[in-house]
């Protein structure tokens, strides 16, 4: 049996390769992000003063949407021919699978964000008063928070067909602190104010939820 990290790597590589092969990934992602930004521009006339004020929120909604699209299909491939069962009978640790999926989604969503941000900047004529690296950090932390929880709950809702329909709705209250921190931090940085507190909050949220998800994932995966 190879090291868990090795398994994470092959699983991640396999996912990335399939993704890459099946969809000329970058092109379609680029076009998708362009479309999202254009749809936003049509809905909120970007030249209006108000819409520029809510740009922080707008961006996060757009990212959230991209993340939901990604998370929705996380396990689709594994479910199709019950490949998950093949994973479960193998000696590979459950957490390797989880980590690979989280990292894969993180990469996917981050690329989308990286593509969308310049478009938003152009269309909404945004200009940050605070340091840009802080924005990038907030985006990374926030994306991680969304992706860890999302991947975990996506796995959970696979396993709990009709029993506990309300489970996906758990993600909602649980994600609220992260969302709040993301939006507040972004707005603060855009306006040149400090966002230390929110960033610390996000970081510790990430830490706690990553740990807990890793601890619980094996149970969730092996629940029949």
């Amino acid at each position: 049996m190879s090291a868990p990290s090795g398994i994470t790597r092959v699983t991640l590589l396999k996912d990335l390769r399939l993704e890459w092969r099946s969809k000329d990934a970058v092109n379609s992602m680029l076009f998708f992000s362009l479309l999202v930004v254009v749809v936003f521009s049509f809905s909120f006339d970007p030249s209006a003063e108000e819409s520029r004020q809510i740009a922080g929120g707008l961006i996060w909604v757009a990212f959230l949407f991209a993340a939901v699209v990604a998370l929705n299909q996380t396990w689709a491939r594994e479910i199709r021919n019950q490949v998950l069962d093949a994973y479960r009978v193998s000696p590979a640790p459950a957490n390797s699978l989880f980590t690979a999926k989280v990292v894969g989604n993180f990469i996917f969503v981050s690329v989308l964000e990286a593509l969308m941000t310049p478009l938003f900047v152009v269309f909404y004529r945004l200009r940050s008063l605070g340091p840009v690296w802080q924005l990038a950090l907030v985006a990374a932390l926030g994306t991680w928070a969304l992706v860890v929880n999302g991947t975990f709950f996506a796995a959970m809702s696979l396993r709990t067909r009709s029993r506990e329909i309300m489970l996906p709705l758990l993600l909602f209250p649980i994600s609220i602190p992260a969302l709040l921190a993301m939006v507040q931090a972004t707005t603060a940085i855009l306006n040149g104010e400090g966002a230390r507190f929110w960033m610390a909050l996000l970081a510790s949220y990430d830490l706690v939820f990553t740990t807990v998800c890793l601890l619980l994932f094996e149970t969730v995966l092996n629940a029949e």
């Binding site: 190879s2 399939l18 021919n81 479960r88 009978v89 000696p91 029949e224």
Partner: protein, 234 residues
């Protein structure tokens, strides 16, 4: 290599599995010794798949116990078990070889040569680039068997491996499996084509309504049981 002495490698004690109100396994108790080929037969809905899944650790039994290779926790010995199910357990988007290479890594197998070897063994061509989703049903079935053989397991759990395979190739697969058995592996084959296994199987196990009702070497006896029961399916 395990010697061919009847040491039980699998012991099942009063296994019960309920799905809601319905009991698919209703108290299965048995011992299976190493290095043999068991054919598990029974009517549709008898609980054969459920038994296999439970042994493979994919179902939690509602009550009762089992031990495999002396261990009660499947995870400890999972490297020594190969499992093949009705669905192919393969990625439709990847070619056969890519699939096996990936699953090999989960078992720490990094050599492509080994993957190619098992693909040849089941009568396919490792160089087929077509994704598995475009295979014919029988080809998919063989590839699925190849996946189960990949880690050279001590115990093989096969759920209807021949069901969509042409007769000629099924015969070859039986010879292949018999050879593997001769090298010390314990094999369980759930099938409805018992005749295929007539020469090869060491024991036929007949299940009915969630129980093992007969273990014998004489296929004829089972046919009588089969005729007398098996009316409407539960």
């Amino acid at each position: 290599m395990i010697e061919n002495t009847p040491v039980p490698v699998i012991t099942v004690t009063n296994l019960i599995k309920q799905f809601g109100r319905f009991a698919a396994l209703r108290g299965v108790s048995a011992e299976f010794s190493g290095g043999k080929l068991y054919a598990i037969l029974g009517d549709n809905g008898a609980g054969k798949t459920t038994l296999l899944r439970t042994l493979a650790g994919l179902n939690q039994p509602s009550s009762g116990e089992f031990s495999i290779l002396g261990s009660r926790k499947f995870h400890d010995i999972c490297e020594q078990v190969g499992y093949m199910a009705h669905p192919s357990l393969l990625y439709d988007e990847m070619s056969g070889m890519e699939n096996l290479e990936y699953f090999g890594r989960l078992y720490g197998i990094t050599s492509s040569a080994r993957c190619a070897e098992v693909i040849w063994a089941v009568g396919l061509d490792p160089e087929l680039v077509r994704p598995v989703g475009q295979y014919s049903q029988g080809m998919r079935q063989r590839m699925s068997l190849a996946r189960a053989l990949l880690n050279d397991p001590k115990i093989l759990l096969l759920d209807e491996p021949f069901s969509n395979v042409d007769l000629h190739s099924a015969g070859e697969m039986v010879r292949l499996l018999a050879g593997i058995r001769d090298r010390g592996t314990t094999i369980f084959i759930v099938t409805h084509q018992a005749a295929l296994l007539e020469g090869a199987a060491d024991e036929f196990v007949w299940m009915e309504a969630g129980k093992i009702v007969e273990r014998t070497l004489d296929l004829k006896r089972l046919e009588n049981i089969g005729e007398s029961t098996g009316e409407s399916k539960r």
